[in-house]
């Protein structure tokens, strides 16, 4: 079956612009996670969705970051007024249950000029 997909694969934007990153999880997976991978910080948890429960936003670095998950499936991570320090690879993962194996997408490489 299809794995986790993310789009776009690469995104170059100018400082101050808003960007939207999309994640399509594996069908039937109820848990969805966003992580950020950067040279300086390694892999950091951003936000977690589980079914219809309120998301765990504890990892979001600032209020410029937000995410939603529509219909318990597709998720969108939005970064407003992008800064150069937002440049990183953004990884999405889904899991059939919380705490179980997470299946990762190929990531979106974001470059803020």
């Amino acid at each position: 079956g299809a794995g986790v997909s993310q789009s776009p694969s690469n995104k170059v934007t100018e400082k101050g612009k808003d960007v939207e990153l999309r994640c399509d999880p594996i069908s039937g997976h109820t848990a969805l996670y966003w992580y950020r991978q950067s040279l300086g910080q390694g892999l950091e948890f951003l936000i977690y969705f589980q079914g219809n429960s309120a998301p765990d936003k504890s990892g979001l670095p600032s209020d410029r970051f937000s995410a939603e998950r529509t219909g318990g499936s597709v998720s969108t991570l939005t970064i407003q007024r992008t800064q150069q320090e937002d440049s990183a690879v953004y990884l999405c993962a889904s899991s059939p249950r919380t705490g179980g194996e997470q299946f990762f997408g190929p990531g979106t490489r974001l470059t803020v000029l």
């Binding site: 848990a31 996670y33 992580y35 390694g42 892999l43 948890f45 977690y48 589980q50 765990d56 504890s58 990892g59 690879v89 990884l91 993962a93 899991s95 249950r97 919380t98 705490g99 179980g100 194996e101 997470q102 299946f103 990762f104 997408g105 190929p106 990531g107 490489r109």
Partner: protein, 120 residues
């Protein structure tokens, strides 16, 4: 808070040889999961092996096995008969199952990674 430490930023091994990657973690939980993920240059994170903390038996997956020492909070990965395709970044990660703990909900906590190069 849980932390994961990988003390070897880079390692290399000859093809067909065996290599061990180190990982230590710190947690106050009694029930948790440990993982090794592989990230080749393609950027795709791939699960290599998983260990449930309540299981004493070390997990194995073909050429990959772990040495899980719960008391020492150590979780090393052994790769036998190394192949060129094993060249990648390897990340050790921990999580804990959902429960009445509050706080994080099963998100992965990663180490900084070990860059493994397999040489022909």
């Amino acid at each position: 808070a849980q932390t994961v430490t990988q003390s070897q930023p880079e390692m290399s091994v000859q093809e067909a040889e065996t290599v061990t990657l180190s990982c230590t973690y710190d947690t106050s939980e009694n029930n948790y999961y440990l993982f090794w993920y592989k990230q080749p240059p393609s950027r795709q994170m791939i699960l290599v092996i998983r260990q449930e903390a309540y299981k004493q038996q070390n997990a194995t997956e073909n050429r990959f096995s772990v040495n899980f020492q719960k008391a020492a909070k150590s979780f090393s990965l052994k790769i036998s008969d190394s192949q060129l395709g094993d060249t990648a970044m390897y990340f050790c990660a921990s999580t804990r199952p959902r429960g009445n703990y509050g706080g994080s909900q099963g998100n992965l906590i990663f180490g900084k990674g070990t860059k493994l190069s397999v040489k022909p």
